[in-house]
C-alpha cells in the first residue's frame, strides 16, 4: 500500500517568553492509503501541533513531510487541496448560519456558487444537519457543532482527513454515528483518516493502527493488539494499561494487572 502521509524527523519548537517549548521533537510516521490511524498521546504530547504542521497551518522547525504526494514545504497548496481538517476546538463563526458556513466552505474550496449550494445540502443530509441549516452555529449543541465542523472538512471530498479529537463532547449515539461515518468514508471513498482521541475504546474500535506519541516523539506504533502484546504482555490487557505502560504515566506498573506471559 502506498504511503499517503510520511514524515521524517518532523519537529516544532515554539519560542515563548519563558523559553523554547519543544512541542514536537522528532516524529517519524507513515500512513497508508485508506488507513484509519489513531494518533494517541497524553495531554501536551504534541498531537495537535503535529496535525497543524501536517495541514500547513504551522511551519515545522525541523524535518520534512509529504501529504498525498505533496511536499509540506514546497507544495502547501497541494497539501491543502488534498486534505480536510477538523480542529480540536472547531472553526465555525457563532454569528453565521449553518447554511452560510457550509456554502462559504465550498466557495473557499473554489466550487462555483451553484455547486457549493448543492454540496452544502448534500453534506447537511449526510451529517444530519438539514433541519438546522438556518440556525446560527452559536445556537447549536456541542455535538451538532461537531458534526458541522466535520461537514465543513468534508466539503471537497479530501483524500486525507485529519480529525483532532472529533468525538470529544459527543453523546454515545453521536460517537457511534461518527465511527460509522469514518468507516464509510474509508470504505466508500478510500479516504485516509488521521485522528486523535483520548478515548481508548474508540481507538480500539476504529483505528487500524495506532501511533502513540509522548513528549513530542513517537513512543510506540502498531495495531492495537500488537501494542498490547508488546507493551502490556498479553492480548487480554486493556488498551488503557498498554497506553500507561508505553507513556509511563499513572499508577499502572509496566506489566499492568494482567500477569506477564511466559
Amino acid at each position: 500500500m502506498p504511503a499517503v502521509i510520511s514524515t521524517a524527523g518532523l519537529a516544532r519548537t515554539f519560542r515563548t517568553k519563558a523559553g523554547p517549548v519543544d512541542a514536537v521533537r522528532c516524529v517519524d510516521l507513515t500512513v497508508h492509503e485508506g488507513e484509519i490511524l489513531g494518533f494517541l498521546g497524553p495531554n501536551g504530547a504534541g498531537k495537535t501541533t503535529t496535525l497543524r504542521m501536517l495541514t500547513t497551518l504551522l511551519k515545522p522547525t525541523g524535518g520534512a513531510a509529504t501529504v498525498a504526494g505533496c511536499d509540506l514545504a514546497t507544495d502547501p497548496a497541494g497539501v491543502r487541496r488534498a486534505s480536510g481538517y477538523v480542529a480540536q476546538s472547531g472553526g465555525a463563526d457563532p454569528q453565521i448560519t449553518v447554511r452560510e458556513e457550509l456554502v462559504t466552505q465550498g466557495r473557499l474550496y473554489r466550487l462555483p456558487k451553484a455547486e457549493a449550494v448543492a454540496r452544502a445540502a448534500e453534506l447537511a443530509e449526510e451529517l444530519d444537519l438539514t433541519s438546522l441549516l438556518d440556525r446560527k452555529t452559536g445556537a447549536l449543541s456541542g455535538g451538532q457543532r461537531r458534526r458541522l465542523d466535520i461537514a465543513m472538512a468534508l466539503t471537497h471530498r479530501p483524500k486525507v482527513l485529519f480529525l483532532d479529537e472529533p468525538t470529544t463532547g459527543l453523546d454515545p449515539a453521536g460517537r457511534a454515528d461518527l465511527w460509522t461515518l469514518v468507516r464509510r468514508l474509508r470504505d466508500e471513498h478510500g479516504t485516509t483518516v488521521f485522528l486523535t482521541t483520548h478515548y481508548l475504546d474508540e481507538a480500539d474500535a476504529l483505528a487500524d493502527r495506532l501511533v502513540i506519541v509522548d513528549r513530542g516523539t513517537v513512543a510506540a506504533e502498531g495495531t492495537p493488539n500488537a501494542l498490547r502484546l508488546r507493551h502490556a504482555g498479553s492480548l487480554d490487557a486493556t488498551l488503557q494499561d498498554t497506553f500507561l505502560a508505553i507513556t509511563g504515566r499513572g499508577p499502572a506498573a509496566p506489566a499492568g494487572p494482567a500477569p506477564v506471559a511466559v
Binding site: R52, T55, T56, L57, L58, K59, A77, R80, R81, S83, G84, Y85, A87, S89, G90, G91, A92, D93, P94, Q95, I96, E100, T104, Q105, R107, L108, Y109, R110, M152
Partner: protein
C-alpha cells in the same frame, strides 16, 4: 483566483457588518458628537485657514473616524482566532492575500459609508464645501482605512489576547490624533509642536483633506498628503500580506 477569493471574503465580512446595523451606525456616534457639541464652539474662532470652521473640523472628524475605526479592526481577528475560524480558512486553498484584502476592503466600504453619513450631518450643521473636495475626502478615508486596517489585522494575527492588543493600539491612536491637528489645525500650535507633528504621517492627510474642502487641489499639502497616503497604504498592505502568508497563528 485572487479576485474570486477576495470577493468571497469581502462578501462574508460585509454581510457580517450589515447584520450588526447598530454597530454600523454606532461608529459614527463619536465624530457626530464632536460635530454637534464641539463644532459650534469653533464657528467664531479665528482658525487661520480659509473657509469656515466646518471646512476645518469636518476633514479632521472624517479622518478620526477612519483612524479609530480601522486601527481597532484587528480585534475581530483575535476573536476569530479564538473561534478557530482563521485556521479553518487557512487550511483551505483560499488565497492568503484575499483573506486580508477582503477584510480591509470591507472596512473601507464601512468607513466611507459612515463618512458619508457624517458629511450629510455636517451639511445640516452648516458645512459648505465643493463636491470634488468632499469626494477627495472620501478617497483619503478609504486609503487611510486600507492602510491602518492592514496593520491592525497583522497585529491581531500576531498577538494572542485582546489585552495585549488594546494598549498597543492606544499607544498609536492617541498621539496620532493629538499630533496631527485632527481637531484644530497645527498652524495654531507653537513652533515646536508644529515641527513635531510633521513626524506624524497622519498630519499630511489631514492637511490635504482640509485643502480639498476649500477647493484647493494643486497645493503642496495635497501632493504630500497623496504621496503619504499611497505610500503608507502600499507599505501596510505589503506588511499585512506577509503576516497573513506566513503566520501560523
Amino acid at each position: 483566483m485572487l479576485l474570486h477569493d477576495t470577493a468571497l471574503v469581502y462578501g462574508r465580512y460585509l454581510r457580517q457588518s450589515l447584520r450588526s446595523r447598530f454597530a454600523l451606525l454606532f461608529g459614527v456616534l463619536t465624530p457626530l458628537l464632536y460635530l454637534l457639541f464641539f463644532g459650534p464652539l469653533l464657528t467664531e474662532l479665528p482658525l487661520g485657514g480659509q473657509g469656515s470652521s466646518w471646512q476645518v473640523l469636518v476633514p479632521g472628524l472624517l479622518l478620526q473616524l477612519g483612524l479609530f475605526g480601522a486601527l481597532f479592526a484587528g480585534f475581530a481577528v483575535i476573536i476569530e482566532k479564538g473561534q478557530g475560524v482563521v485556521e479553518r480558512m487557512r487550511v483551505t486553498p483560499v488565497s492568503r492575500l484575499a483573506l486580508l484584502l477582503g477584510r480591509v476592503l470591507r472596512d473601507a466600504t464601512v468607513f466611507v459609508f459612515q463618512a458619508v453619513l457624517l458629511v450629510l450631518a455636517a451639511l445640516v450643521m452648516g458645512l459648505r464645501a465643493p463636491l470634488a473636495g468632499v469626494l477627495i475626502g472620501f478617497a483619503f478615508v478609504a486609503l487611510l482605512t486600507l492602510s491602518l486596517a492592514s496593520v491592525s489585522y497583522a497585529l491581531g494575527m500576531k498577538v494572542r489576547t485582546p489585552q495585549e492588543f488594546g494598549p498597543l493600539i492606544n499607544m498609536v491612536s492617541m498621539p496620532s490624533m493629538l499630533l496631527s491637528g485632527l481637531m484644530l489645525p497645527m498652524t495654531l500650535a507653537p513652533a515646536w509642536l508644529d515641527v513635531l507633528s510633521h513626524f506624524v504621517p497622519f498630519r499630511y492627510l489631514v492637511d490635504a483633506v482640509r485643502d480639498a474642502y476649500v477647493g484647493h487641489y494643486t497645493t503642496p499639502h495635497m501632493l504630500y498628503g497623496t504621496l503619504v497616503a499611497l505610500a503608507s497604504t502600499a507599505l501596510s498592505v505589503t506588511l499585512g500580506t506577509r503576516v497573513f502568508r506566513t503566520t501560523g497563528a
